[in-house]
């Protein structure tokens, strides 16, 4: 039969036990351990040997345990799961038992991160509970794998640690129960200062019926100094030091004396708690305090271990070197006067450490390094706090994304499948075509073939204007330009389509109409291009989709865009009034279609490319004539007067200038007028105030109104009852906000045109598109009434200032004029698809081209 350990004997006979702790040194000197053992001998029943506590390399707990035994003291070997897998652990356990070690404390172990080799690979093959179970298995004669141990089995009195103060607090007793279930017979707790909390823990253990199954030893540590107490309070996880303890130390003259007294007081208190079977004194760096504490607590003398015998010899006398054969058995070791040795020990040794490994108490060095680490993590904490605050600011003080609108977008995927099929078939063809077209007119003389077909339709309209640009080398020019344009009409149509399909689900609805012109008869396509594509091939959606349930592709808007009247009398135009996404005629109506305004300037333009200037050069000097030319020659239905000359950063012309120009223009034409200021918020107030006086009675639109000047200009507009342009930097929420501000000023929504600040093709067009689309979807499908306002898009200005629109004709870039026209028309068409209601453009041909397209789109 196995011989029980001394500790087990005492506990099982109901004695109140005292254990202490020794931390082995960080070198190979056996004397350190022996000396520590000598200090404790006679005052404790057993002593724990830590297993590389805080993951710092030290003499192994097994070797130290044997050294302690040589001093006649019973060791409790600690074993962690940090450094060994189940093979190493079992091997060491067999070895420990063979060496006569009988008490074993099973721990998970501190993470290497806390130690002096943080780079080490943490093993943790097992956890403490699995380790306990494994040890019990060994005792019962089987290895972890279930294999039988043949021959002598190891014997251990199995212990475990538990931290009553760690979180989750109410799980701790349950975890202790698990350890008991696994096979733990005694428990040494984390350091107790908060006796009340510990009492609750013990109460809970009693309820769980654990007290009959396990001996609980309360962990006690005398605080050596105020600093140490504070360190433990703030830096050791799961260690609660009540303020009262701190206070006692603060008030005490002799801190060490007070520390010892605190430990004694706590021992007295925990002793009375039912189920506490002993104390485990961890006097860190302060072993000599243990005898004093034990004495004062009335726990001295200790019962002598009856027949404690190490299995082999280590030389008994301190001075001599170990030389003797291992077999010789040494009897009792001298019990010498403790005090004397204590003195010596203290002088010589720096690292006197003692602690339970799983709990966090460190030697001075470790304390400092950990303090550093804590400071670091505190810093990190502060940083992440700052970050959090920054994020909160971002979240709450900045604009939010218009999510709901997105939802609307996603709502309508029903049509997709249908489209996709057709689209995929078509795409490659279209692309090829586009390429051909681009190359042909430029480089090669392949035109003849194409010409004839193109001619009949388009010639008459375009001839005169395009001519001048074309160089003389190419004889049959009249036709060519047309052909270019006509053919390129194709790309104009196709591109938006392709884009939409690729990037936006929503747009899908526009497609059916456009696509079908090309789609139905693949072979005819070429013709279609030449003809201009838009006429005569249309098949109504109802026919194309006759096999589909209507609700699969149709989603009617629930809102409607307000109608804004511009101008007065016969020539007045209405914009807006749409109850569907633009050109989705199968879902709703576009009462007024898309309107155009020709843009003129108050001064002679300086940076207009030749391809644009040549149409107006004769009237550049006089805005009135210019306006007149637009109306009479190019059929403008509205004029936008851009007062760029008043810009303080440009010519800074006075308001009177603007007024004069406006006067002249008003007299010259009878179509509705839009007056667009320089965009300088302050200047525009002065200028538009003056101008409104002139154009107000004509019902002209004035703008742009921005947030900075909305109060004054809204007042002006209301005074003359004119519509306004509400201009905001391309953003759904800003646009809405401005509308709300204006409405709050008393300006009704049907007097507002939104200018979302557009970007030209290649200069942010796609972003403009998506923002406009979101605004429009919110207006139509999310009942966002504040956005149910028509869009006004100042296209010409953005397009014609681009580098590409101004570059001359060359091999790479193609013809300057058609390039410019296409850029403007493409921007216009795209924005019209996105919801644009009133487009301000410059080139007569691009307006014509847009109109042509819209006519086609409107045929459903």
């Amino acid at each position: 039969m196995e011989i029980k350990s001394h500790l087990e004997e005492l506990l099982s006979s109901g004695k109140f036990v005292v254990t202490a702790e020794i931390g082995p040194p960080r070198n190979a000197d056996p004397e350190v351990i022996k000396k520590k053992a000598k200090i404790l001998k006679g005052y404790v029943d057993a002593v724990n040997i830590t297993d590389c506590q805080t993951a710092v390399v030290r003499v192994s707990s097994m070797a130290s345990a044997v050294l302690v035994m040589s001093e006649g003291l019973e060791p409790v070997m600690q074993m962690t799961c940090r450094d060994r897998n189940r093979i190493g652990i079992q091997a060491d356990l067999l070895g420990a038992s063979a060496l006569g070690i009988k008490n074993l404390l099973c721990l998970t172990g501190d993470h290497p991160k806390f130690g002096n080799h943080p780079q080490a690979k943490p093993v943790f093959d097992l956890d403490s509970i699995q380790l306990i179970k494994l040890v019990r298995g060994l005792k019962e004669g089987r290895f972890e794998n279930g294999e039988e141990i043949k021959g002598r089995r190891p014997y251990f009195f199995i212990g475990a640690a538990e931290n009553p103060f760690a979180e989750p607090f109410d799980f701790r007793p349950l975890r202790l129960a698990k350890k008991v279930k696994a096979g733990a017979r005694f428990i040494q707790t984390q350091i107790i200062y908060n006796v009340e909390k510990f009492r609750k823990f013990m109460e809970r253990c009693r309820e769980l019926g654990l007290l009959d199954k396990v001996y609980i030893l309360a962990g006690i540590t005398p605080p050596k100094s105020l600093g140490m107490a504070k360190y433990m309070k703030y830096n050791v996880p799961g260690l609660e030091v009540p303020d009262e303890i701190i206070k006692r130390l603060e008030d005490a003259k002799d801190k060490k004396e007070e520390g010892i007294q605190i430990a004694v007081d706590i021992i007295q208190q925990v002793k009375e708690i039912p189920g506490v079977c002993g104390v485990h004194i961890m006097a860190i760096e302060w072993e000599e305090a243990v005898p004093e504490i034990v004495k004062r607590a009335g726990l001295y003398p200790r019962e002598e271990a009856p027949s404690f015998m190490p299995p082999f010899v280590v030389e008994k006398v301190v001075e001599k070197v170990v030389e003797k054969p291992v077999e010789v058995i040494v009897e009792k070791i001298i019990e010498k006067p403790v005090e004397v040795i204590v003195e010596k020990v203290i002088e010589k040794e720096v690292p006197l450490e003692g602690e339970m490994a799983e709990e966090k108490i460190f030697t001075l060095i470790e304390i400092l390094s950990d303090l550093k680490a804590s400071l670091k993590s505190l810093k990190a904490g502060m940083e992440s706090l700052e970050e959090g605050i920054a994020r909160l600011e971002e979240e709450f003080l900045k604009k939010k994304e218009a999510r709901p609108i997105r939802k609307e977008v996603i709502k309508r995927p029903e049509e997709r499948p249908v489209e996709r099929e057709t689209f995929i078939e078509e795409k490659p063809k279209i692309e090829e075509k586009v390429e051909e077209v681009v190359v042909k007119p430029e480089a090669k003389e392949v035109k003849p073939e194409v010409k004839p077909e193109v001619k009949p339709e388009i010639k008459p309209e375009v001839k005169p204007e395009v001519k001048p640009e074309v160089k003389k080398e190419e004889a049959p020019e009249e036709i060519k330009p047309r052909e270019e344009e006509k053919i390129e009409v194709k790309p104009v149509i196709e591109k938006p389509e392709a884009k939409e399909i690729v990037e936006e689900k929503t747009k899908v609805e526009v497609k059916p109409e456009v696509k079908l012109e090309t789609k139905p008869e693949p072979e005819v396509k070429v013709e279609a291009i030449k003809i201009g594509g838009l006429k005569g091939i249309y098949r109504p959606l109802s026919e194309r989709a006759k096999n589909l349930p209507q609700d699969l592709y149709m989603e009617k808007a629930t809102g409607e865009i307000k109608e804004v009247v511009i101008g007065k009398g016969d020539r007045a135009i209405k914009v807006g009034g749409v109850s569907t996404l633009n050109f989705h005629f199968f879902e709703g109506e576009m009462k007024n279609g898309v309107k155009f305004a020709f843009e003129i300037l108050d001064i002679k333009p300086e940076d207009w490319p030749e391809s644009l200037s040549k149409y107006y050069r004769d009237v550049f000097h006089d805005p009135a004539l210019w306006a007149k030319k637009c109306v009479e020659e190019y059929g403008a239905e509205a004029i936008c007067l851009y007062l760029v000359g008043t810009d303080p950063n440009f010519l800074n012309l006075p308001p009177q200038h603007a007024k004069k120009v406006a006067e002249a223009v008003v007299k010259a034409v009878d179509v509705p007028i839009i007056v667009w200021g320089s965009g300088n918020a302050e200047k525009d107030v002065e200028v538009l105030r003056e101008v409104a006086d002139i154009v107000g009675e004509r019902g002209a639109v004035i703008g742009p109104i921005v947030e900075a000047n909305h109060r004054t200009l809204a007042a002006v507009a209301m005074g003359y009852n004119t519509p306004v342009i509400a201009s905001s930097p391309i953003d759904v929420n800003l646009a809405k906000q401005l509308n709300i501000l204006l409405e709050n000023m008393g300006l009704p929504l049907d007097k507002i045109l939104m200018d979302p600040s557009i970007g030209a093709l290649g200069y942010g067009l796609e972003y403009t598109y998506s923002v406009m689309e979101r605004i429009r979807l919110a207006a139509l499908f999310a009942q966002d009434t504040k956005l149910q306002v028509p869009f006004i898009c100042s296209i010409g200005r953005e397009v014609w200032k681009t580098k590409e629109a101004g570059l001359p004709t060359d091999e790479l870039m193609g013809k300057a004029e058609s390039r410019g026209i296409l850029m403007e028309a493409l921007t216009g068409v795209t924005l019209a698809l996105a919801g644009g209601d009133l487009l301000i453009m410059r080139h007569p041909k691009s307006i014509e081209l847009c109109k042509e397209l819209f006519r086609g789109l409107s045929m459903s």
Binding site: I730, G764, Y767
Partner: protein
């Protein structure tokens, strides 16, 4: 003061300024101005490439936070500058050779002043580098 072969590269959002080379007559080095539709479009690669192609410093200019047309483009640019700087550090160049500037839109003077300040900073690096040699 004019340095032969001393080049600075300015990568900027088109909307931050309308300055042209002649506006920088006070900066006695060759300036390369590359405009992007938004500073958020300027990639780390663009910044590094500018250095490789001979620029001594790369100035990334974007709109003041909150005024970017595209919402947060200039903030993105700022982050990318951090990414580029990390690489510079790794390969042993002063990270400040790539710097982010937030510029008041169309405030040409502000912009030009920032360019000048940046030029002085880079000039310092160059002088130091020469001392070392």
């Amino acid at each position: 003061m004019e340095e032969k072969g001393f080049k600075l590269s300015i990568l900027c959002c088109n909307y931050t300024n309308l300055s042209e080379r002649e506006d920088f007559f006070e900066v006695p080095v060759s300036l390369e101005i590359k405009r992007y539709p938004c500073s958020g479009k300027i990639e780390i690669t663009d910044m590094l490439r500018a250095l490789r192609e001979g620029a001594k410093g790369v100035m990334v200019a974007g709109c003041m936070p909150g005024t970017c047309h595209n919402g947060r483009g200039s903030e993105r640019a700022e982050k990318r500058v951090l990414g580029a700087r990390k690489i510079l550090e790794e390969i042993g160049l002063e990270p400040e050779r790539i710097s982010m500037f937030f510029v008041n839109r169309l405030d040409g003077e502000d912009f030009i002043n920032k360019v000048k300040a940046f030029y002085r900073e880079i000039l310092n690096f160059e002088l130091k580098g020469r001392e070392r040699k």
